[in-house]
Amino acid sequence: MLDYAWLMLLFPALGTLIIAFFGRRLGKGVISWLAPGTVLLSFAVAVSQFATLLGLPAEERHHEVVLWQWMTAGSFSVDLALLIDQLSVTMALVVTGVGFLIHVYSVGYMHDDPRYSRFFAYMNFFILMMLTLVLANNYLLLYVGWEGVGLASYLLIGFWFEKPSAADAGKKAFIVNRVGDFGLALAIMFIWSTVGSLRFADVFANADVLVAAGVIGTVTMLMLLAATGKSAQLPLYVWLPDAMEGPTPVSALIHAATMVTAGVYMTARSAALFDLAPTSAMWVAGIGAATALYAATIALAQTDLKRILAYSTISQLGYMFLAVGVGAYASGIFHLATHAFFKALLFLAAGSVMHALHGELNINKMGNLRAKLPTTYWTYLIGAAALAGIPLLSGFFSKDEILWYAWQKSPVLWAVGLVTAGLTAIYAFRSVFVPFWGQPRDQKLFHHAHESPPAMTVPLIVLAVGAVLAGYIGIPHLSLIEGWLEPVFHAGGAAAEGAKAAYPAAWVEWVLLAVSALVALAGAYFAYTAYVVKTSIPKQVRDSLGWFARLVENKYYVDELYDKVIVNPLRDLANWFAGTVDKAGLDGAVNGIAGIAGWLGGQARRLQTGLVGLYALSILFGAVALVAWLVIR
């Protein structure tokens, strides 16, 4: 059965091709069945793989499917092959499961869009690439998926390119991600030239070669750079809030549930490498914790519903990084899975609100929507509660586990995580109380509001059930998911044993559990008093904070800083090269180089009058420099 894993890729691949080339002839009716259908089939295959793995003993839950021999360079070769193990199947289940629901939702949401078929071609392509990423058995194929999802993401962010802001956001996402991708590409080259293989199994088995060569720190830090780009961590998170310009199902699927978690997945997959590079792992945890806190403060000050959720996603991804950074890989993946459910749910519910209010997203214009949109309200409430970490919902269990591991590593990380948890509860419930409770603030909008069609509400209900139940696979001390995933990360088992022995007493865990539950409830209560009972509190808080509040409201001015420091100078440099150097001549460049070149440049300007002469001078200049270097050497 495991040998048929490639079927998971085949269905969305066929879907992409058929919709891309025959989409217009097929019509909306066929596409609305075909596109979700291919993802459902992939989901079915994933379930069968999962069931097969369950039936095997733990040490045999690792299967590689070689599709074909891909490349050889000398003794080195890479196959196009898939890896089926606990981690990849878990990821595949999340991707196809959530992906299917979002496809169904999109059928309703995108119904009137003129580029309906193109949208679903991109969506199926995304599923294909995401599955490639998580099922790859080597870094190269992972990189293929990595670039592929980036491409799909950029195409979908800029899907409504008539809006300049959407086109800009797409470009921004692409460029920022390239910075991260460059890290991954370099990491792959280092691994290749050191270990001589890119297959996960080989690389992890020979990880000590990387240590011996002294590049393990470089490799893991480069991977971290890649992960911060793809998973929107400090300092490369800037593209994600803008990515909300894309259609809402895209935000839910790509920018909340799946693609942005790729960095977490890769870090967890490379556990064997990060275990050997404690400094890099500490950086991962530190960046995760910092991002979690930082993004949570920004989320508090946003008024755009989708942007609140975007910053919340960044913050939650920070939690996942914190988890994998402190070595709690299984907890990180667990939080990834529960987050996929509740965050997709929140985004889709936000999309439903948007649908009802004709695209309005400013929560200060909404109010009392629970009267008009009951299904949306209840599902959103469940999602927000899960996000806030209200006890007995999925977010509670997974977040608590992360905090528990953080405590063992460093109480400082734990404290940051706890403060973030409190902030999370406040902004999560703020985004519930302000739009859904109180009095309608804009009568016209309120009057026209209407509940969404079943194609949209049914996925909401299914995801809400998931958001409640997903946590129960990871209840402390009964944790199924940890036992399931753990063999992937600690194949030797020795490291895990060592870590277990050092665990503090059990009562500490229960106390911490209680503390985080209380913090979440307190945050929710504060939000209730501040945004429902006594609505003057936020203003008072803002006034008392003064400049800090302004800083937060303006997202710490990071976008402006990037424009000033990086984007503008680069553009000017390009202008200068295109304009000055090649048009007016090499004067500038020549002057920039000292000594003989400077003298030649001076002579050149006196002697030189025509363009061909200038070109010839450039050749001569190169010749002199080259010969001089080779003679002196």
Binding site: A578, D582, K583, A604, L607, Q608, T609, G610, L611, V612, G613, A616, L617, L620
Partner: protein, 100 residues
Amino acid sequence: MVPISYYLILSAILFTVGVVGVLIRRNVLIIFMSVEMMLNAVNLTFAALALHFLSLNGQIFVLMAMVVAAAEVAVGLAIVMTVVRHKDTTNIEDVNLLKG
């Protein structure tokens, strides 16, 4: 007997004169002649070296280089003619549509 290095230095000087000619002249035909001067300077080197090594190869190279130079003249003049047809000038500065 004149030492071989004299030949080599003379040809280096001739080559440099050719290079400078290409750099400072604006008339296409004179630039062209300067290029020919560079090639002939090299021919002098080859001929001198053929004598030095007592090898026929160097002299064969001179012949080959001369053939190449002749072919270049034919092609070059034809190209100059096409430009002159459009724009009645042999000043290289006047032919400047492509840039940037």
